[in-house]
Symmetry: C2
């Protein structure tokens, strides 16, 4: 027995490169021996004196290691019975089923809508702003933060939104959130708690947004979208609807801007019925052929919740967005956000505040507006040159275009694009569907089109992407043979 | 009329310091004139030609500004009727009720539990890690992230937790979240969806945590806490309980460590009944008189969810925490987190990953362990010297101590501390209460004590805090006069 224990001692591998010195190394080695079954349950360990002698360690070191493992439950120490391996099955973790390789069959280029050209993320300017913000922050900035967001960021946003988007607000009405969808989830709960049951949504839009509203307990009612945006006049036909989610500056994804008459009508509807308009201003900064259209919120700050985001202007990875709220909603939104554990890191907030305050945000938006505009112009010119039968629409603003296709060719165009290494989505994917309907079933009635996020690829890839896209597009419809 | 318009033009204040040049300045000035009522609804504006002449601007500039405001809904343009101010009430934002001054009556020093000494946040090392991480990140790190957290951080955490806390996990089972409470909210929902109705909680703990479980739809069942931690053997008496939220390393807030027999018993209970233990390892890195007690999770990774956080080791403002999950829960947790819009910024995640990988996290924890330990020793010595009738308990680990008080003196001690500029909480505030019971009503049965977060003040303030605390403590109970 003594001999076998001597062997045991010699076989113990003490890894002294880890933290905590010899005692911790011995603790780890013994723990591993129990885990792997080398020390079976019930086995009595050598006395600390004898193991210490075998290992040339101080006796206390061994006694301490035994004590650690008793405290953790690996060993037991009983008067008169010595130190033994605990009499318990030591389960091994079940193998996790291997995750599918994340990059498997990933397309070479992603033209799906939803993100900026993240290769242009202004790393240096962001880091510089972070350095200034974090160096200068008072200590309490590192504590638990205000669920509305840090006051310094809210002040910077109130100022920025007023001047860039015509938003009328003040810091106390702004709530920072981790992305538009989080803000929408919070708002949905607040509205539902207030008795709102139904929300109007655009008949083209992102299914994820409709799902967020539905999870909050709201029924969604589609509003027809045409070339002037959503037909907001349809809201009056639904007497139960008390909220409407709209993309007034640049309808998502068709690209229309909401007609002035409809802007006026929807604000009047909200005011008359006590409803709330949720204005998703996802790419409001990017308008090319004229000044940006000011936010709808400016027309009636008491009935419009303005949502902005850094996902298109900077990068989705920041997880930073903001709401400018009517006064009667601000407190409730902050409470629901806090109770829902939707926290946002303070250091990123302070960095964004500094990034806005020092002018870097404006500079970046300006530079990206030029870049996206040039891409748009190249796309339009290339289509005119090589696929004149295909019109690009919704291109006055934003980071994407809608390419109208001959009827029935949308699915094959998507497949052709995939064959050329491009991930693209068809317009029909964005059509309103009743809850539970699969998002990929194309309904027969929608026009065929591709939604092309020309803003997504990196700059150096754009030329190749454009070429691949042009090759994917269906050719002009052949005139039927007339017998000649 | 022409004259009054000329006046109007001269009175328009064009602020050319804003963005967008003359056209944008004119648009802003006209918008303000409509907003403030200087231009009444229905008013016909001067022709673009005549206003341009008055302002010495190009006619197109004025026409463009008019166009912008028509698009936004402030003006209308009708064939034959010219450009008019829209016939709509322009509501002014209602005044927000002024928020109470946030720093009103704030105590000079906060000794309430829950945060690290944030004045020691390692700003330079954090910024340096951020610089390296963000400079080196691939572009796709700036896109929408994995709801589990960035793979680089999950790998760093898996390695760190194995070596520092004895956690047995792998990156695929780790989910990053914005604080422990967010993780608990996600887990609560997952368990509820699996049919769990009741969760055991410690009879002393943070009411906020119990509330998170209740909001997830779980009934909470209290387990008695004594000097050996929670009586986990009580779990077997509640046949419906299929989850237990515990603080094994350092009971919150009494400071006991869970007795080895109870550690073994609770893991056996979970394994036998198919239950899940939620291990809140909120300050597991900070143990002073011996090696840290390894995580309970190491005993049974398939039945214990390990929760760690940067709130105590670094700062709550980071909003970074993590779970190491049983294999059978990892996918569901990731799905629920994604659907709940609980996003976490990628750049902070990459910064933390680099901060861990370069050894700065270990160094910071080591330095803070020394600092907290010194403070604890000074607190204990000062009590022994000047208030020997008051025992400090739960002090083998963590950032707080529990000072036992003579019966009935807890409320007056809290008041006395407030009078000395200290915010402290009594132990009774942490006692389990049925839902809806106000947290500030002290139940009669609990022992009296103060929970003193000696880790919270900044280093330079500690001496003064200690002095103020000693003055707040009740004196020894006077022996009743024996007639001599």
């Amino acid at each position: 027995m003594a001999e076998s224990w001597a062997t045991f001692g010699r076989d113990l591998h003490l890894d002294l490169t880890g933290p905590g010195g010899v005692r911790a190394a011995l603790t780890r080695a013994l723990r591993e021996a129990v885990r792997t079954g080398r020390l079976a349950p019930g086995t009595r360990l050598p006395s600390s004196r004898s193991l210490a002698a075998d290992l040339s360690l101080a006796r206390n070191t061994v006694a301490d290691a035994y004590g650690d493992l008793v405290a953790e439950g690996w060993l037991t120490a009983r008067q008169g019975s010595g130190t033994r391996v605990a009499h318990r099955a030591v389960p091994h973790p079940a193998a996790v089923r291997p995750a599918p390789p994340e990059r498997d069959r990933r397309p070479a280029y992603d033209l799906r809508i939803g993100t900026a050209d993240v290769s242009a993320f202004p790393r240096s300017a962001w880091l510089a702003a972070g350095r200034r913000a974090i160096s200068a922050a008072p200590n309490d900035a590192f504590g638990y933060g205000d669920p509305r967001g840090h006051p310094v960021l809210r002040a910077a946003l109130a100022d920025y939104l007023a001047r860039a988007r015509g938003v009328r607000t003040e810091p106390a009405r702004i709530v920072v959130c981790a992305g538009f969808m989080q803000g929408l989830a919070v708002l949905g709960r607040v509205l539902r708690a207030r008795g709102v049951r139904e929300a109007g949504v655009e008949s083209y839009g992102l299914w994820l947004h409709r799902d967020v509203l539905r999870r909050a307990g709201l029924r969604t009612v589609p509003l027809t979208v045409d070339e002037h945006g959503a037909r907001t006049e349809e809201l009056t036909a639904h007497r139960g609807v008390r909220a409407a989610l709209l993309t007034p500056a640049h309808q998502y994804p068709t690209g229309a801007s909401l007609h002035p008459d409809r802007r006026a009508a929807v604000v009047d509807w909200a005011s008359r019925t006590g409803s709330v308009i949720l204005e998703d201003d996802y790419d409001g900064e990017f308008r090319y052929d004229r000044q940006p259209i000011g936010a709808l919120q400016g027309l009636d700050p008491e009935h419009v919740v303005y949502f902005g985001t850094a996902s298109k202007s900077l990068a989705p990875g920041l997880r930073l967005a903001w709401m400018a709220l009517p006064g009667h909603l601000a407190d409730e939104v902050a409470e629901v956000k806090a109770a829902g554990e939707w926290g946002t890191g303070t250091l990123e907030q302070l960095t964004l505040a500094e990034f806005i305050a020092c002018g870097a945000y404006d500079r970046h938006v300006r530079a990206m507006r030029l870049r996206y505009r040039r891409r748009r112009d190249r796309l339009v010119a290339a289509l005119a040159d090589r696929a004149p039968h295909i019109a690009a629409t919704g291109i006055a603003a934003g980071l994407h275009a809608v390419l109208r296709l001959p009827p029935g060719t949308e699915p094959s165009a998507i497949e052709a694009a995939a064959w050329h290494g491009l991930a693209v989505e068809g317009l029909n994917r964005f059509r309103y569907r009743a809850p539970g309907a699969p998002p990929t079933t194309p309904p027969a009635e929608g026009p065929d089109a591709l939604v092309i996020a020309y803003g997504t690829p990196s700059e150096h890839a754009f030329e190749g992407v454009l070429e691949a896209l042009l090759r994917s597009l269906p050719g002009p419809v052949q005139a039927a043979s007339d017998g000649s």
